[in-house]
Symmetry: C2
């Protein structure tokens, strides 16, 4: 049985989800002959530390009542100084700078610690550098949770499709947009009304720009482009059109012709002619990509196996926590 | 760079596909730092052997002109005596006995050789015994190609969903049935006519019983039940209803209500109440499982990640070869 000390930085819904699952059912890791012990949890204001293993229910209680206890150490201090094997970096995404997650990841990798993250910012901004750092220090940098939550895109590309060249990836990577587009056409409601409703239901943020203008999808696409295809691109390299100017009339016209409109992210490496774009596109209603509601879907064109698609929940704290756990299991079951 | 000597037993379309891919583009395996060298190929009548690596184009030429050269060794002799690291067992499936593949697999595992197979018969009949044998001899027995060709079901269950309990699997595991059912309703043609057409197009065998009566789907379900859920079931344990008595009228009625009819295999372990069945079932047209044509689809209900679906080509010699290669890559990248 190998034991891994885990530090969780960021204690929002995803961080809490990871902590809960680890605390409640360590037995599910038996298969990997691994044990995970959480030795540090931090949020933006405080931290809880215990080298013998944190009492999760007490940490969750502190969080319910506000923030974690204030301590003299900042999150960065914890990342730099505490003794752990895996950093679970689940702080909020900053699309432009990648901070503060970027600094945490750099510090952890430099110290020779594995990193598992759900944070798109650092990867979209500095993938190449971070990958280099992880290789240099002979540790893993895993980020299944960054593109499509519970939908195992990177995992699929890493193992099951190994040796089978992936030519392109296109898909629906934002549940908020998919919910809005689905709801508009099935209920025949205008964009603004559905957006308000989505906010009320928690499917859209108070400021939905990040989702509806296609930035979230573009970040995921950048990570896929760099990680799966070895490209070296940034957010500014993506052609982005969001869904905010789509009218119900346009959706109806498409529907009459047998199509639905979906916000599609597509990456297709081809040197100077590479495609890297996010835009609303027509999808035949009978096509497997025409998934409804908040679902995400990714279609991989492969050389030998034809088209392979994976569909799953793109968001949700438990689903995202599940992707993080899957990465932790991968580390635990790796032999190096 | 690790080098693996490969013996291919069965030189039909799948065996030839594997040989072609290995011969033509060994470079694709660079990522796994592995090299595969084919040292033996056998079919039911003859064999080609060369410890330094077989000239594939010459073997393919022999095959085009009839069978491989007759030699004094049978396939079983080759499996028992030749020096190889991985046996690729791709002989035809016998649902009831699993032979001759079963004997080949037993011999190879007993000799401490890895086995990769696309043959459903041996696994559906003797999974538990074969798994025991592989563990005893510390080698891998992999069979991604058995359930849904290029659709990576086992791989998905093995790594990306590790640590995330799978509660049930249901899906479309037979492209022939899916083609027939899709074509009947989209073209409004009766079963017999579509079946004849499917035979002409090569989507159905001259004797289609195995596919249309649900036996193929049931075999795949048995392998999933045993391999993913650790059950110990056989073909006789599956409740099977095929599609041969489905009428166009029934499909039309379903369609009017917003449903399509699909031949669904479902496994849901639950002790005495376990479900293991193959039957035509109604699927809402908007449900991701409502895939058309010859596509296969599998929906996994998971505890943490919700429903995850994978869609892919279920048949085709290159697609099946691709699944076999993926398994070979997995062996090459494993550290034990």
């Amino acid at each position: 049985m190998r034991s891994f000390k885990v530090a969780i930085v960021g204690f929002g819904s995803v961080g809490q989800g990871v902590a809960k699952v680890i605390a409640s059912r360590n037995g599910i890791f038996d298969e990997a002959h691994a044990e995970f012990k959480i030795v540090a949890i931090t949020d933006s204001k405080g931290a809880v530390l215990d080298p013998k293993g944190i009492d999760i229910s007490s940490a969750l209680k502190q969080k319910r009542e506000g923030t974690l206890k204030r301590v003299s150490m900042s999150s960065l201090d914890v990342v730099k100084n505490v003794d752990y094997d895996i950093l679970v970096e689940v702080t909020p995404t900053d699309a432009r700078t990648g901070e503060p997650g970027l600094s945490y990841i750099i510090e952890a990798l430099s110290r020779g610690k594995h990193v598992v993250t759900s944070n798109k910012g650092p990867l979209a901004n500095q993938y190449k550098m971070l990958l280099g750092l992880s290789k240099e220090n002979n540790v893993k940098l895993l980020f299944e949770a960054t593109a499509g939550g519970a939908m195992p895109v990177f995992n699929l590309a890493r193992t099951p499709l190994a040796g089978n060249k992936i030519k392109s990836i296109m898909g629906i990577f934002n549940g908020t947009c998919n919910y809005i587009l689905t709801r508009m056409i099935t209920e025949e409601l205008p964009y603004d009304m559905v957006l308000s409703e989505a906010k009320e239901l928690g499917y859209a943020e108070a400021d939905p720009t990040y989702d509806v203008e296609g930035i979230d999808t573009a970040l995921k696409l950048v990570i896929l482009a760099n990680a799966v295809f070895g490209m070296d691109v940034k957010l500014d390299d993506v052609d982005i059109v969001g869904i905010s100017s789509i009218t119900l009339d346009a959706l109806k016209l498409a529907s009459d012709d047998g199509y639905v409109v979906k916000l599609i992210g597509e990456v297709r490496p081809n040197g100077e002619e590479s495609i890297l774009r996010v835009s609303p596109r027509l999808v035949p209603k009978t096509h497997p990509l025409a998934v409804q509601g908040t679902l995400n879907a990714a279609l991989m064109q492969t050389e030998l196996a034809g088209d392979i698609m994976v569909i799953g929940k793109g968001a949700g704290s438990i689903e995202t926590a599940s992707a993080i756990l899957s990465d932790m299991m991968y580390i635990a079951s790796s032999k190096d």
